[in-house]
Amino acid sequence: MNRARNLLIFSALAVAILILLLRSKPTPSAAMPGKAPLVVYCAAGIKPPVEAVARAYEQAYGVSIQLQYGGSGTLLSNLRVAGRGDLFLAADESYLLIAQTNHLLEEVIPLSRMVPVIAVRKGNPKNIQNVADLLAVEVALANPEAAAVGKITRDLLRKTGEWEALEKGVRVFKPTVNDVANDIKLGTVDAGIIWDATARQYPELELVAVPALVSGEQRVSIGVLKFSEQPTAALRFARYLGARDKGLKEFARFGYQPVEGDVWAETPAVVLFSGGVNRVAIEETIQRFENREGARVTRVYNGCGILVSQMKSGQRPDAYFACDTSFMREVTALFSDPVNISRTAMVLLVPTANPKSIRTLADLAKPGLRLGLANEEQSALGALTARLLRAQGLYDRVMANVKVQTPTADLLVNQMRTGSLDAVVVYEANTSQVKEFFTVIPLTEPGAQATQPYAVGKNSEHRLLMERLLAALRSAESQKRFQSVGFQWSEEEHE
């Protein structure tokens, strides 16, 4: 029995020593005090720039970044099962799309573009110029089922009718784009179709651009995982990676073609111009957005006429959420394509008892009324009201009754509360808080509604951030907030 005891003691001792040896590792970056590391699932092929950026970020901000490498598909299955981690950087969009379909992702930040090209060894010894030339040499392709570049190549070449012949003549299908590149480098094959970004990482390879493949452009993007427990820190690193003056420089250095990207700021400060009517609907969404992004959004709420004249005099907000499309048109050159978010109907507001018996727009022309309207120049509501009255031929008679004109509708509601007016024309969205004091009469005339578009400033340094704010405003939660305060959701939304 001594033998058993000796063996046991020996084993235990050996295990203890080995574990001690493991523990004595020269504590790597993983152990930075106070902060949990960010876990990034990163496609192995994009390692060089990402690793460089991660080290720079760790140095600059003391946050440790744990890079988890693998094939994009493998990582995707991994993170689905493990249910932890903060960011997912896939080799191409297809994987992010799958992740999005499976509700695994929140924000997505684009990093770089890539195009399928033919790759050959340096000097192009077989003189390959186009897809037809590939039929005469040994070719490796990425498997269309396993790698996005393979699938895109197949789809594009099917359109040109070149796929069938190429597929028959192909020497080998490889599971990843790097396997194909390695085969060319090793000389196992003469050529292959891979991403230009991949080809540029191999000094031994030369790339041949093919017009038929150019439309297969893809973006490399990083997505924030839904189950991240530190989304703000994750987003901050993702923003750093995608910043044109930070991470994207590294991407360019390693042969990628980076997207434009935002300018880096640890806490970005942006300005949003918004029509006053939208305030109640968007305020909570913006506060949440600020907290999540770690950004400061300065909101300037005012009548849209005032906002437009400010912009015309040179102010450049990062985004503009107008009260009505008519007030977007005047400054459309400053912004990228506006997106309609919501609609709200115009209504008449009268005291609950309605002593002056006001029922329609025409009733406003009755002599002796005290009316409040929004200012025609200063606000969208005023402009819309004036247009409506002119269309009905009521403008002059109604204007004779107007006692007060304000730049925003909420001021009219306040005037009504003081009892100094008999009726006002406002948006339905202005009435949600005061329904118990007033009767709300919807206007049935055509054109008695406003549509609120959002657009991102063309010259903003934080365009992607403002695009994400747009996404937040279009989210289902935001929709509920809009609807709870009397807005309708814009139909265009449901595309």
Binding site: L22, Q68, Y69, G70
Partner: protein, 279 residues
């Protein structure tokens, strides 16, 4: 066939015209395989240069991978032997209902594709039980996951080897010991165990070598995080995935050297010990 007594053969093992073709063909077949192995190594070596080795060894990440590989393989080996010893012994000595099924279960880790093992482990540790366990010892994507992934495969090989070893040991001596008044445990440690030393050594080296090359389950279950769960096969994978074939080959050759060194040391050391004792 030339006829002769066994004594004749011992003195003149290659005598006789008809022995030569036999032995030559054996030699040719054997050397073909050995040549293949060596040729692979030479081809590898031709794709790298001393500077790549130097760069590899200088890299902090690769040094860590070497260390983690060596330590985790050794731990795995110890655990595997301790688990394989009882299983191998029981399976070789006792008959019981369901033994065939149990036998098949023990082969599962050998049969399953490595990726499946990794995935299964990953899923296992996300079950409520697995999560509870991880509250105490974090496993997924941490160092313990490397050892568990290696263990789940290596142990199956150790079990196979030890079972075959025990089966080759005649139970008669054990029974004699029992009739002489030994308890089962005494018979095991005093009679069977010393005879199983060679098998034990083989099982240990097999488990160790198997763990060193283990990659599929580790990639899934442990991830490929540098300075944390990166073992040598992971390094090769990472270097290959960015087209750095030179570094991948350099690390592969480092692995070969480490493996050969350890295996030779264990065999020589273990051999002498074994010979030094009466079998």
């Amino acid at each position: 066939m030339a006829q002769g007594t066994s004594g004749d053969r011992a003195r003149h093992p290659t005598r006789g015209p008809s022995d030569a073709p036999f032995l030559i063909s054996l030699g040719v077949i054997s050397s073909l395989y050995i040549l293949l192995i060596l040729a692979m190594l030479v081809a590898d070596a031709s794709f790298t240069a001393p500077k790549h080795f130097w760069q590899a060894v200088q890299s902090r990440e690769i040094r860590y991978a070497i260390k983690l590989s060596l330590i985790s393989c050794s731990l795995t080996t110890i655990f595997s032997i301790w688990v394989a010893l009882p299983i191998g012994y029981l399976m070789s000595r006792y008959q019981f209902p369901g033994k065939v099924l149990l036998d098949a279960i023990l082969d599962i880790p050998i049969v399953l594709p490595p990726l499946v093992i990794g995935l299964s482990l990953l899923i296992l540790f996300q079950t409520p039980l697995g999560r509870a366990f991880q509250q105490v010892v974090p496993v997924t994507y941490e160092i313990p996951s490397v050892i568990i992934a290696q263990f789940s495969v290596a142990c199956a090989f150790a079990v196979r080897t030890l079972r075959a070893t025990f089966e080759q040991i005649n139970p008669r001596q054990e029974q004699v010991a029992l009739t002489l008044g030994c308890r089962r445990s005494q018979a095991f440690w005093l009679v069977v165990f010393p005879e199983a030393r060679r098998g034990l050594l083989t099982a240990a080296t097999l488990a160790w070598a198997r763990s060193l090359g283990e990659f599929g389950p580790i990639l899934i279950f442990s991830g490929a995080t540098r300075m944390r769960t990166e073992v040598l096969p992971t390094t090769v994978f990472l270097e290959l995935s960015v087209g750095n074939i030179e570094a991948a080959v350099a690390v592969s050759l480092l692995m070969v050297m480490a493996a050969v060194a350890v295996l030779v040391v264990i065999r020589v050391f273990g051999w002498e010990k074994t010979l030094g004792r009466p079998l």
